[in-house]
């Protein structure tokens, strides 16, 4: 695949009161890659991806997606263009069934978010939702209320909702947090299959997951890009080690 730029941010800033959570980030994402964003707590990772997904408005800077400026678009329009975000704090619809959760995502993708179901039969929605649930191995629990799922399963449902949206860019915010080792193995395999037809932007603390999965890694510190490179380059980077790896890995 030729190196096509999928997403680009220029001078992206976000200030909360006196604190600059993201302080001028220039960032380029190539279509098809798995990119990990790492950094110490409070480095601005979640704010950064929230800016990309549109949950938070930037103080300054621009975001370009597929060559178009999306800085001013509300989040739902960005989702329709293909930027999907799975929440760090699990945020499925607890009272709805597992199936309805996935079906919401499926019908959004199939109908362009119209909600009324134009151009999508209930059968098509069901097929797509079930396909996503099957990929995360939750198909057998389709009638269970999502809130009664075990934590790890809720995280997987969250990923399934991301899958059913069939995004061009899937943002995973700490997807393995709270998962068991076995579940993490499964998650790594799953992410590889997702990456065959989507670009993945991953915020992750677990270094094993990052090193296994990421094509490139961006290190954020104090709201700025500290380093960027392949896993091998990042591992060898002295500045990164000082700021981050030295402490925790």
């Amino acid at each position: 695949m030729a190196a096509v730029t999928l997403l680009k941010t220029e001078g992206l800033r976000r200030r909360f009161g006196g604190l600059e959570a993201v302080g001028g980030v220039d960032f380029t994402l190539t279509a098809g890659e798995i990119r990990a964003v790492i950094g110490p707590n409070g480095a601005g990772k979640t704010t950064f991806v929230s800016l990309i997904s549109g949950r938070v408005a930037p103080t300054a800077g621009t975001i370009t997606f597929e060559g178009e400026d999306v800085t001013g678009l509300p989040e739902f329009k960005r989702v329709r263009r293909g930027i999907a975000y799975t929440f760090q704090i699990t945020s499925v619809f607890p009272k709805l069934t597992v199936f309805d959760n996935a079906a919401l995502a499926a019908q959004s993708a199939l109908t362009g978010g119209a909600g009324f179901g134009h151009g999508a039969t209930p059968a098509a929605i069901e097929a797509r939702a079930m396909e996503a649930l099957t990929r995360v191995d939750l198909a057998s629990r389709r009638e269970q209320a999502a809130g009664t799922l075990a934590y790890g399963h809720q995280r997987l449902l969250e990923v399934a909702m991301g899958l059913a949206l069939d995004p061009k860019l899937l943002i995973l915010d700490e997807p393995t947090q709270g998962l068991s080792d076995g579940e993490i193995e499964g998650f790594i395999a799953l992410t590889r299959t997702i990456a065959t037809h989507a670009t993945v932007l991953l915020i992750e603390h677990n270094m094993k997951v990052v090193m296994d999965l990421a094509d490139r890694i961006t290190v954020l510190d104090h709201g700025k890009v500290l380093a960027e490179g392949t896993p091998a380059e990042i591992r060898a980077n002295a500045a990164v080690q000082a700021a981050y790896l030295g402490g925790s890995a």
Partner: protein, 315 residues
């Protein structure tokens, strides 16, 4: 046919059969209950399914009521045209109010809707030359007679009136069921449960909520127009704050976010008020007590509880 559809068809058939056994008094009460159930169903689309509590639905109800009543009185509209005018006015007003009020959320939405309805109520008093305010207007008899399929229909006829009310109720139940069962129903519930997440799934929640307000307001207006034409009277009371609270009460009692709950709630509440009228003239006291008891001890309402305990498939 699924068991849910079967159940609703059964309920409508039961209501149809009841007209042959009821006394005149109960026959009239049931006609009234059926028309007001339509109002409650409309309210429930917004409150039960979408999770938006409007404290000003009387505005929509009164819009339909006055559009039908005034056009019949002053422009000589007959019942079908006046009814259509009521629905059209309801559509326009709910679109306008929705577009403005939905810019707010939560408590502010409740207060804004309350204030719009209050302004509407005051307007019916202010234009007393036309509406005759609290005293109201009795519709001309001619407007309630119209030709249908070659025969003359007179809405003063109790039997006809009953069956037309039943038709309106059946259609409304159908619409409600359709919305709930279609993909749009799932989105409404998603907005109720977690609006930010719904946005992050790519849904334009503002437009979806506006859709809910318009459907809800238009159904309420249809109920208002039907009330005016069926009973031949329009007055300011129908625009007052009580008429914003009634559908809330009926819906809560019968079970919010169930298709038949509002109907059941309206029926039960009418009987409660009927019973209480033997003891006190302050019928609103019953309304107040039931409201407080419901939120305290019975927040799911009758059918909501039935669904949670026994019938999870109940729409």
């Amino acid at each position: 046919m699924s068991r849910a559809v079967l159940l609703h068809v059964g309920v409508i058939a039961l209501l149809f059969a009841l007209q042959f056994v009821l006394s005149d008094y109960h026959h009239l009460t049931l006609t009234r209950v059926m028309i007001l159930s339509v109002y409650a169903i409309g309210f429930n689309v917004l409150f039960g399914y979408t999770g938006l509590l409007s404290l000003g639905h009387a505005l929509f109800f009164a819009t339909g009521l006055y559009a039908a009543g005034l056009s019949a009185t002053y422009w000589g509209f007959t019942a079908p045209t006046a009814f259509a005018a009521g629905i059209a006015a309801g559509l326009a007003v709910s679109l306008l109010i929705g577009a403005v009020a939905l810019r707010t959320t939560g408590v502010a939405f409740m207060i804004v809707t309350l204030m719009f309805a209050q302004a509407g109520h005051l307007a019916t008093l202010y234009f007393g030359d036309i509406t005759r305010g609290d005293e109201g207007i009795v519709l001309p008899e001619a407007s309630r007679k119209f030709a249908m399929l070659g025969a003359t229909v007179d809405l003063a006829d109790a039997g006809l009136r009953f069956n037309l009310a039943l038709v309106l109720l059946a259609v409304t139940i159908g619409v409600s069921l359709l919305i709930v069962k279609r993909p749009i129903g799932r989105v409404l519930i998603a907005i109720r449960e977690n609006e930010p997440r719904t946005l992050m799934l790519g849904f334009d929640s503002f437009r979806t909520k506006l859709f809910a307000v318009v459907v809800s307001g238009t159904i309420s207006a249809a109920a208002g127009a039907a009330t005016a034409l069926a009973f031949g009277y329009v007055g300011s009371t129908f625009a007052s704050i009580q008429y914003s609270i009634y559908p809330l009460l009926w819906t809560l009692l019968g079970g919010a976010a169930t298709v038949l709950g509002p109907v059941l709630g309206t029926l039960v509440m009418f009987h409660l008020v009927d019973l209480a009228s033997g003891y006190t003239t302050a019928s609103l006291l019953v309304v107040g007590v039931v409201l407080v008891l419901l939120v305290l001890f019975f927040p799911k309402g009758i059918l909501g509880t039935v669904r949670a305990r026994w019938l999870p498939w109940l729409p």
